[in-house]
């Protein structure tokens, strides 16, 4: 029975990883922008790291400003990529903050510097929180 459970878990993990790796060239280019973030911006630390209150506020802001393109579960839509993929999960908070601030204007993401800096960090905290929750488990098929 234990062997079956281990085999099932292994299958689920490999399915999840396969799901994560299946990216179209357009999606790959979108995530590649994360690598273009300047080193100094990448090194910035999240002042609200781990704060449940700020993550909750970030969740509210996410619902107000980001849901439309990235989806209610942050799993992406036709207009914006999933924010639950490993590319985002493994990105330092400073990079997420930089992308939020500068947008990806030529690919359709507007700049969000109109939100004050603390609010942008609150959104980053929320994204980190939802991804930390997922780090324990593979991506369920069909989520991305």
């Amino acid at each position: 029975m234990k062997v079956l459970a281990v085999l099932f878990a292994a299958c689920a993990i490999s399915l999840g990883l396969a799901q994560e790796e299946s990216l179209s060239p357009k999606q790959r280019a979108m995530y590649a922008i994360l690598d273009e973030v300047p080193v100094s911006a990448r090194a910035r630390t999240n002042p609200y790291q781990g704060s449940a209150r700020e993550a909750a506020a970030g969740g509210k802001l996410y619902e107000q400003h980001c849901v439309e393109c990235h989806g209610a579960k942050a799993a992406g839509t036709r207009y914006g990529p999933s924010l639950l993929r490993k590319e985002v999960r493994q990105t330092p908070p400073g990079s997420l903050f930089w992308i939020l601030t500068n947008g990806v204007v030529r690919r359709g993401m507007p700049v969000w510097s109109k939100l004050p800096e603390p609010q942008r960090w609150q959104i980053v905290t929320f994204l980190q929180q939802i991804n930390e929750g997922r780090q324990m488990q593979p991506t369920p098929p069909g989520q991305d």
Partner: protein, 303 residues
């Protein structure tokens, strides 16, 4: 009879158009906007792609040597892309003890020039307007515009027709929650004999709180953005400078409601003898997300 029938058809067409627009808008999702409080000045933030913002603005103005007025305009602002916003204005006004008239339309485009955020962010603004001399929305105060230009009755003012091209360079910077914006304005009446006119608008604003609270609330401080704007004419190519120009200083406030509405208020005070004493403005706007997609689907686009 023919005329009556034509009038009836026009009314029917109008009602149908409103019904269709109403249906399309009701099918769109709403979202909470984070709108700036400025009414005259522009910052560098464009409409989110695919979203339509419908805005109504009113300006009550005092008038020496004539009747006070209430000018109003409707704005349809659409985010074509993340770097291009296009907008249509429909203007009208009521001059008290005179009449209510439609005064023209404007079409504007705002183009973001740089891909990333910089300390100062430039956006190019290009507008074509076809208005009558009775237009009193005072969205810009240009060249040698002065209060006495608006004192004539509507019947006289509407005889004048303006076809203008307006260019602005929207320079805006956001730092530590503050936004500072400066708009140099260059206007050319397309009649060859008319000179280029110059103007300016500048504004500064800041949300009352920089951090968001976790609760959904109407009166949270982060929902309010307060500021001040100043605008006026700078003469034209024939007489450049501050002579015979008017200028205004206006405290402004915006209230971004979680129910997807934004309310703006502005009290403009004339700064010299050529200016209206008071320009009291207010506006109401609502943002509809997914408008572009809905229209695309209606016309057979890929869902």
């Amino acid at each position: 009879m023919g005329l009556r029938k034509s009038g009836y058809s026009q009314r029917l067409a109008c009602i149908s158009t409103f019904c269709i627009v109403g249906f399309v808008l009701s099918a769109c999702a709403s979202l909470t906007a984070q709108e700036s409080p400025y009414i005259v000045t522009y910052d560098h933030y464009l409409e989110e792609p695919g979203n339509l913002e419908v805005e109504y603005f009113s300006t009550f103005g005092t008038q020496r040597g004539g009747n006070d007025f209430h000018a109003f305009w409707l704005e349809f602002e659409y985010g074509t892309t993340a770097w291009w916003t296009t907008e249509l204005y429909l203007d009208g006004q009521t001059t008290f003890s005179d009449s209510t008239i439609f005064t023209g339309f404007r079409v504007e485009n705002r183009l973001r020039l740089l891909n990333r955020e910089h300390f100062v962010n430039p956006v190019l603004y290009v507008e074509y307007e076809q208005t009558s001399g009775a237009d009193k929305i005072l969205k810009e105060v240009e060249g040698h515009d002065v209060e006495s230009d608006f004192a004539e009755p509507n019947g006289v003012l509407r005889q004048e027709h303006d076809h203008e091209l307006e260019l602005k360079l929207l320079l805006s910077s956001t730092f530590k929650g503050w936004n500072v914006a400066l708009n140099p304005i260059f206007t050319k009446n397309l009649s060859p004999s008319e000179p280029w006119e110059f103007a300016y608008a500048l504004g500064a604003s800041r949300p009352l709180a920089l951090k968001a609270s976790p609760d959904r609330c109407n009166f949270c401080r982060e929902n309010f953005i307060a500021g001040v704007e100043m605008y006026g004419g700078l003469g034209d190519t024939q007489v450049l400078g501050l002579a015979d120009t008017s200028h205004y200083l206006a405290p402004v406030v915006a209230w971004n409601l979680p129910s997807d509405w934004t309310v703006r208020l502005s009290t403009g005070f004339g700064l010299n003898d050529n200016s209206h004493r008071l320009l009291l403005r207010w506006g109401l706007s609502h943002e509809f997300s997914g408008f572009g997609e809905l229209v695309r689907n209606l016309f057979g686009g890929r869902p």
